[in-house]
């Protein structure tokens, strides 16, 4: 039954992404200055929002783990962060492609980009730390603390365009500017694509959580077998 719900949600996100693709490629017009490359924003911004959301879930789950000592929260944290890292990579790659087209360079050391790179590195560090600790209790504890530490860089990345004058474009979405910076249709498709990517991320997180629970069960059995 649960499998079926997961499949249905996965299919739903695929269908939603397809509808969005149709909208952005065939319905919406080109942007005046950027031409058709502007469409990358429909994946770039939602991918970053999705990874920020995933890291937020990871941080909250980590706090809950430290408070309640329940391993399901640790499972949730690692699943969310791993999926978050994947979306970070999507955000990085799409941003780079856009930059190459618009600025003529793949990368520049502007505060927003630098913080984004730092965030990526910090979370790669999280995944590496997890791999290098054998004891499950210490692994869960230490990585929970690291996840909370790491979330500070997410907050700075998000606010970087407000705190520094960046080459990276400033905020355009209504909830940050108060309106008037982006066409309503453009914005609506952007939010819809964020919804679709969030759904996809949620499905991936649940799948990853199941794997993690299975790994934990196998580890437990192995210890049990060694103990006998």
């Amino acid at each position: 039954m649960r499998d079926k719900i997961l499949y249905i949600l996965g299919l739903l996100s695929a269908a939603w992404l397809t509808v969005n693709l149709y909208q952005m490629l065939l319905v919406l017009p080109d942007e005046l200055r950027q031409g058709h490359i502007y469409r990358i924003i429909y994946f770039h911004v939602p991918a970053w929002f999705t990874c920020f959301s995933a890291f937020f879930v990871g941080a909250i789950a980590s706090i809950l783990f430290l408070v309640k000592k329940d391993y399901k929260y640790d499972t949730c944290a690692v699943a969310a962060i791993e999926v978050g890292v994947a979306f970070t990579c999507i955000g990085m790659v799409t941003g780079s492609i856009w930059a190459r087209n618009q600025w003529g360079i793949w990368w520049t050391w502007d505060p927003r980009l630098t913080w984004a790179a730092i965030t990526t590195l910090v979370y790669f560090g999280y995944l590496t730390l997890r791999q290098s600790i054998d004891d499950p209790a210490a692994r869960a504890r230490n990585s929970a603390v690291l996840a909370i530490f790491s979330f500070t860089s997410v907050a700075i990345t998000y606010k970087a365009i407000d705190w520094w004058r960046t080459q990276h474009p400033g905020a355009v979405l209504d909830f940050r500017t108060g309106g008037g910076q982006i066409d309503a249709d453009y914005q609506s498709v952007l939010y819809q694509n964020w919804g679709a990517l969030m759904l996809l991320a949620a499905v991936l997180v649940v799948i990853r959580m199941r794997q993690e629970s299975a790994i934990r069960a196998i580890e437990g059995l192995r210890r049990h077998a060694h103990a006998r």
């Binding site: 430290l66 630098t114 730092i118 590195l121 910090v122 560090g125 590496t128 730390l129 290098s132 600790i133 004891d135 209790a137 210490a138 504890r141 230490n142 929970a144 603390v145 690291l146 909370i148 530490f149 790491s150 500070t152 860089s153 700075i156 705190w163 520094w164």
Partner: protein, 225 residues
């Protein structure tokens, strides 16, 4: 009051044991001088470039040499199971952590005190233009480095790849503080006023406060569980 006394005891113990063996201090000092020397081959040591990148150069030296000291903060307690004894002693984990952070802070500062004149000497730069502010930035930057480094030293103390994992985790997390310290140091050594760069000073202070609070609140989970 008791908390402060415990913190002081741990810091004094760490400093005493470090000054008796000098194991990380000697290594960090010679490593810092080696990097300072190596940089003279990377850039023209007599050109104007050096002044422009002085902050970056110095803080890379401090953070590389500092990692050697920070690595020892908790690893020092591993032989003879001293860490278990410390954790089971009637000292709060936060005091244990803060004591170690203060000891590391003072040791890294000692390396910096050595490096500034050496840097001035090697590269013929007058680094004392804005000395009071330079001291302030060094104190703030080093405190940020020690807070994060000591925390991660506790995180990685039981790992086989400790020496590798610590820098891998510490440097990315420390970048905000390092960036601010580098920028401010360059400005101060060049003799420019600090007033145009207040955002970096705020960043440095904010980083120190946030990470000190986070570390003190969370260290118990790492050490005790």
């Amino acid at each position: 009051m008791r908390f402060l006394q415990q913190t002081y005891t741990i810091a004094a113990k760490d400093l005493r044991s470090e000054f008796r063996t000098k194991e990380s201090l000697n290594a960090a000092a010679s490593f810092a001088l080696v990097i300072l020397l190596l940089f003279s081959f990377a850039v023209d040591p007599t050109g104007p470039m050096v002044r422009e990148m002085s902050g970056g150069l110095l803080w890379i030296v401090f953070s590389f040499a500092g990692a050697l000291i920070l690595n020892r903060a908790f690893a020092r307690e591993l032989p003879n199971d001293c860490l278990d004894a410390l954790i089971s002693s009637p000292i709060s984990p936060a005091a244990l952590y803060l004591g170690k952070a203060i000891a590391s802070f003072l040791l890294v500062l000692l390396i910096e005190v050595l490096c500034y004149p050496a840097f001035g000497l090697f590269y013929d730069i007058n680094w004392t233009n804005n000395l009071p502010y330079l001291i302030l930035v060094s104190l703030l930057g080093t405190w940020s480095m020690s807070v994060v480094g000591t925390m991660f030293s506790a995180l990685t103390v039981n790992l086989r790849l400790r020496e590798l994992m610590l820098p891998m985790l510490v440097y990315p997390t420390m970048i905000p503080a390092l960036m601010a310290a580098m920028k401010l140091t360059t400005v101060l050594i060049s003799g420019e006023p600090l007033s145009d760069n207040m955002i970096w000073l705020k960043l440095l202070i904010g980083f120190g406060i946030i990470f000190t609070a986070l570390a003190v609140a969370l260290v118990e989970y790492i050490l005790v569980g």
